[in-house]
């Protein structure tokens, strides 16, 4: 089985797992869910580190470092803002 097919299996099963987990999130938490999953989408920082790290070429380096910076904004900002919101949810 080629690498592509494995990747397609992984993508499909992860989508199904995501559907199972996320349909059970109550409406109260939909905003933190969105900002938290948004932070997870900053995972493209992994790709950014790979392309930025392997190169000496100026253009590639600029593109890669810009991708690292954007991905980091997404990750750091996303997780912190989600934590700030969730800290406010209290029971009585």
């Amino acid at each position: 089985m080629g690498e592509l097919m494995i990747a397609l299996y992984v993508f499909t099963l992860a989508t199904l797992a995501g559907r199972e987990v996320i349909t059970k999130v109550p409406p109260t938490l939909h905003t933190p869910l969105m900002s938290g999953s948004n932070a997870i989408s900053g995972i493209s920082i992994v790709g950014a580190l790979i392309v930025a790290g392997r190169t000496h070429g100026t253009l590639e380096l600029i593109l890669g470092v810009a991708a690292v910076a954007m991905g980091t904004i997404n990750v750091v900002g996303g997780f912190l803002v989600t934590d700030r919101m969730l800290a406010m949810f209290k029971k009585r």
Partner: protein
Amino acid sequence: MNGHIIVELAYLLSAILFVVGLKRLQSPATARAGNAIAAAAMLIAIVTTMVDNQILSWTEIIIGLMIGGLIGGISSYAVKMTAMPQMVGLFNGFGGGASALVAIAEFVTLKGQIGVGTHGISVMATVIIGGVTFSGSMIAFLKLQEWMTGNPIVYPLQKTLNALLFLAALATGIFALGVGHVGDPWTMFWILTAISLVLGVTLTIPIGGADMPVVISLLNSYSGLAGAAAGFVVMNMVLIIAGALVGASGIILTMIMCKGMNRSLANVAFGAFGGTAHIDKSQIGKRPVKRADAEMVAAELGYVHSVIFVPGYGLAVAQAQHELRKVGDLLEARGVDVKYAVHPVAGRMPGHMNVLLAEADVPYNKLFDRDEINDDFPDTDAVLIIGANDVCNPAARDPKSVIAGMPIMDVDKARRTIVMKRSLSPGFAGIDNDLFYNDNNLMFFGDAKNSLAELVKAIRELP
């Protein structure tokens, strides 16, 4: 070899923790820990990548991380809870942008000689999805921040032009792979990048302010898909898994929002609210209503057993959630049973109203979503509706209405309703609301924040 296995196991651990973290978001009690687990998963993925790859340019990468961390960190603490939708939109755009840049850098590294195949197709798909996510999110941010008009921007042949742009993106993507030797791959690739950015703008500008929750959810989904596509580019499983999880999450929230507004996704994406053109608006607000002042409303709420609050967009705009909580506390001190009913589309993004009320220290076990609380209205003494309109419009039960079938709160079945609103003007659907003219309804006109402050004073003065 052993080193490689350790790296793969670290990525696997990261993927597992992402799922576990999201799973913890199923309850407010465990959600904060869940978010921390997902953040830890991200840290593991980042550290693993940096250890595994021979990084040649540490200085530049550390500068990138510091700049991003600083901007992300500061903005996450500075943002007001009411501004959360545009903040999420902005972060979302950066995620999409990062994915697109990864694909562009890959194309540059291969000097344009990418060839047809999985790798090449992944690069093109990532540029399109990432580009659309980036520019679309920026437009959504500008609209929500009110730096550009929130009204739909429409022009002739809009749908046709968007379809043509999409086809042009596909065509240039194929040519950039060298298929058919049409043009120079570099030129084609830069045109593809430009078209993707333009497409994000043209897809987002026709969507009006009221539909923004749908757009934000959809862009959230795209940013996940862009991440997954970037995962196919660098063939990294944790990228594919995390991207797929976010893609699924965004699509589910999009569908929930569409259901809450009783509209199809195609309807939101391709047009403003249908059919409002032939509604007779001349009679809106002309019928007599019963008016009330703060003292009257205080008397209606202060001596009963059960009260339900229905907060809407108007409450969020007036930032009156703290005053509402004070009213709730005072009523509870008088022995009234107080609940908050939150409609799925209240606020400006999914679940936004819950966050605003949580910020005002309303405990989450007092918040009920529409499906949970709708059967309670007939047994409720009084319902206070603050800045909500269409979600309480009984016209939704009339099959001939433009909002027919929209899931509404059955507030008109309660013994008494009190509507707090600036005027009798219609909501986003553009139609009159019969609730306002009911015998058992009182209108309490004014700005939500001022009116609620008056109400707090009036309840304190009740004997």
